[in-house]
Assembly symmetry: C2
Homo-oligomer: 376 residues x 2
C-alpha cells in the first residue's frame, strides 16, 4: 500500500475498526455500548499515532504505524512494517518477562518476515550520521548553539569514535535488543514497570539499550537547572537522577553477572565451562566482558545525548524550558559532557557518581575536555 | 533425510546420477559416450566427497556433502545443507568476480533458506573451543606435544583472547566471508586463480578470511625445516613464504583502500562523505579501520594455526613429516609463534618481515613469549 492509499485513523474510523475486531471490542464492552467509547490520542512520539480507548468494561491502547515519520510528515517515508517488529518483539518479551510488557491483544498486518532493516537504517541516520553533518532535519536552540552544533560537525576525534559505534551498531548481533530504549519507553507506577515500543527491536549490541537509558537520565539531569524556580532548586532531584544512573548500571551489572553465574553450566556456548574452568578465569572473562559492555554503554549513551541536542528529535526535558538562552546553557553542558564521555569512555572503569558525573570535583580521568564541566 | 537413508555416491551411482542430469551430462559428451567416463575421487578435505569426472567433450567436478563429517564418520553428524550455502555463495561470488570462482552447472537440493548456523557452529567448536579444552576430537603429535597441548588448555590469557575472537566471529556481521579460506581453498595455475569451497560462507568478520590464509602460510613456513634434505635446505622457499605473507596483507590493504577511495562518494553509508569530509579525516578513519582489521586478521590467523596443531583437523604440511620428533619440533615452533601472535597482536602495526616473523632478530614488540622464537 502506498502512502497515498493509507488513511491515518481518526475517531470515526477507529470506532469502525474496533467494532470489526472482536479481539479489541470484547475488551471494551457489549456491542451496544461501542458507540460511546472515550477516545484520546496521546502519541507524543516521533513516529506513530497512539489512541487510548476506554469502554464500559475496560480499555485498550491502539497504536497505528504511519507510512511516514509523524514528526516530519510524508516527506520522510517510513515502513509501516515496523509495527510487525514491535508486535513480534512484544510477544517474545512477554514470553520471557510477562509482567513487564503490555499484552498484545491483536495485531493487524500483511507481510512476510524480513530483517528490521528500515528502522535500523533510521537509527543509523538520526543517531550516527545526521548530527555530525549538515542535514535539513537537524535542529538546535539557535542561534545560541550554532557554534556548538558546528563544533560537533568539525570534531574529527568525535567523528572517528562515532564511526566505530556506528559499525558496532550495524554489525554486532550480540542480543535481541529493544533498539529505542529511552526513558519514555518505560512506564512506571509504584506497583508496575512496563517496557513498551520495541519496534526498533533487532539483534544488536547490548550497550545500545543500556546506554540509551543512561543517556536519557543524563539529559534529564542537565535539564534541571532550566526548571529551577524560587520554590525548588531541584538539587535533591538532580542527586536522585545521578544516583539512578549509578544504580541502573550497577543493578544491571549485578543481575547480569548473577544470571551468568547461575547458568554457567547451562547450554550456552560462548564461555564453555570446560575451557573457562577455574573460578579465577571465570572472574576474568566476566570482568572483561562487562568492561567492554560498559564502554559500549557509555559510547552509545553519549551518542544518544548528542543526537537529542543537535539532531532531528529532541527531549521534552529541554523542550519545556521556555527561555531559549537558559535552555541553550543546559543543552551546552549536556553536549560537552556527552562529547567528553564519547571520546574518553575507555578510561572509565566504574559508574560511581564521583567518577562519572559533572559537579563532582576532580572526578574526570581526562583533563582536557572535562574542565568546563567540573565547575558548572 | 536421515543419515541412514543417505547413500554416499560411488562410481556406479555417480554415472547414473550424471545420466539423469542433463546440466552435467551435456558437459561431458553424447549420451552414447557416458558409459566410459573417467572418474577419480580426489576429496582430501575433512567434510565431503569430491569426484573429477572426465568425458570425451569435457569434465566436471561433483561434490557431495555427506550428512556427517567425512574425516570423523557418522558419529559427528553434519547438515548436508552446507552444500546449499556453498552453491549460493559460489553464485554470488561469480556475479561479483566471474573469473576466479568455478561456475555452478547444477545444484541438487531440497531446503528452504536459513542461516548457515550449523557450519558456523562447527567453526566455533573446532577453532575456538576444542583446542582449549579436553576433547575426544583433539589430536597432536604425541607424546612430544603432550605438554604443549596441556599448556594451551591452561593458558588463561590465551583463553581470554580466544573468547573475544569467538564472540567477534559469532556476532560481527561485517561482510559476506568465505569462512574456510585456507590455502587449500585457492587453486592456482600460472594463468588462473580459483577460489573454491565456500560452504562455510556467512556474514562474519573479514579478518577471519584474511587471517586464515596468512595462518596457513605461516604453518607452511614452520613445516619447512621438517622437509629439509641434502639437496634442498628450503631457505629460499621459506623466504618466499614470508614474502608472500607480507605481500598478501599489503596487497589486500592496497586494493581494499583503493576501492574505498574509488567508492567514497558512492551509495555506501558507513562513512558518509558529508561527515568524513576532509582528506585528513578520511585518512584517519581508513587507518583506524585497517588497523582494527589487521589485529582481527592476526588474531584469527593465530587461532587457525593453533587449531591445526592441537585440534581435530591438521594440515598436510606437517602431516607429511614422517619423523614424529622432527614434526613435533616444527609444530611446537609454530604453536609458540601463534600463541604470541594471538596475545600480542595489538602491538603490531605493519606486516613487514622484520616485525612479524621469526628468525628476524629483535623484531618482536614483546620480549616475553617471543624470545624462544627469535633464535630458532
Amino acid at each position: 500500500m502506498s502512502s497515498d492509499e493509507f488513511r491515518p485513523l481518526n475517531e470515526n474510523s477507529l470506532v469502525e475498526y474496533i467494532k470489526a475486531t472482536p479481539a479489541l471490542s470484547s475488551k471494551l464492552g457489549d456491542v451496544s455500548q461501542l458507540d460511546n467509547l472515550q477516545i484520546k490520542e496521546v502519541g507524543d512520539g516521533n513516529l506513530n499515532f497512539v489512541f487510548i480507548v476506554t469502554g464500559p468494561s475496560g480499555s485498550v491502547v491502539i497504536k497505528q504505524a504511519l507510512p511516514y515519520m509523524r514528526c516530519i510528515g510524508e516527506s520522510w517515508p517510513m515502513t509501516k512494517e515496523r509495527a510487525y517488529f514491535e508486535a513480534t518483539a512484544l510477544k517474545e518479551e512477554a514470553r520471557l518477562c510477562p509482567n513487564h510488557v503490555p499484552e498484545v491483544y491483536h495485531f493487524d498486518r500483511v507481510a512476510q518476515f524480513c530483517g528490521n532493516v528500515e528502522l535500523c537504517r533510521l537509527t543509523e541516520q538520526v543517531v550516527f550520521s545526521d548530527p555530525y553533518k549538515v542535514s535539513e532535519y537537524n535542529r538546535w536552540t539557535s542561534p545560541y548553539l550554532d557554534k556548538d552544533a558546528e563544533a560537533v560537525r568539525e570534531d574529527n576525534i568525535l567523528k572517528l569514535e562515532v564511526a566505530q559505534l556506528k559499525s558496532t551498531f550495524c554489525e554486532r548481533a550480540q542480543a535481541l535488543i529493544h533498539g529505542d530504549y529511552h526513558t519514555g519507553s518505560v512506564m512506571v507506577t509504584q506497583d508496575s514497570t512496563q517496557l513498551i515500543d520495541p519496534e526498533f527491536a533487532f539483534y544488536g549490541p547490548m550497550g545500545f539499550d543500556v546506554g540509551a537509558f543512561l543517556g536519557n537520565l543524563f539529559l534529564a539531569y542537565f535539564s534541571q537547572d532550566g526548571h529551577v524556580d524560587h520554590e525548588n532548586d531541584r538539587k535533591t532531584y538532580k542527586k536522585w537522577i545521578l544516583r539512578t544512573v549509578a544504580e541502573t548500571w550497577n543493578l544491571f551489572h549485578e543481575k547480569f553477572t548473577a544470571l551468568w553465574d547461575e547458568h554457567k553450566d547451562g547450554p550456552g556456548e560462548a564461555y564453555l565451562p570446560a575451557i573457562y574452568n577455574t573460578p579465577e578465569l571465570q572472574q576474568l572473562v566476566k570482568q572483561k566482558f562487562m568492561n567492554d559492555l560498559f564502554h559500549d554503554t557509555l559510547g552509545f549513551g553519549a551518542a544518544k545525548m548528542i543526537r537529542r541536542i543537535v539532531g532531528v528529535a529532541h527531549v521534552e526535558d529541554f523542550e519545556s524550558i521556555k527561555d531559549a538562552g537558559k535552555r541553550a546553557d543546559c543543552e551546552r553542558r549536556a553536549l560537552d559532557f556527552a562529547k567528553m564521555l564519547l571520546k574518553e569512555r575507555r578510561k572509565f572503569q566504574e559508574i560511581t557518581e564521583a567518577d562519572m558525573v559533572p559537579e563532582q570535583r576532580g572526578g574526570y580521568p581526562s583533563t582536557g575536555q572535562c574542565c568546563s564541566l567540573s565547575g558548572q
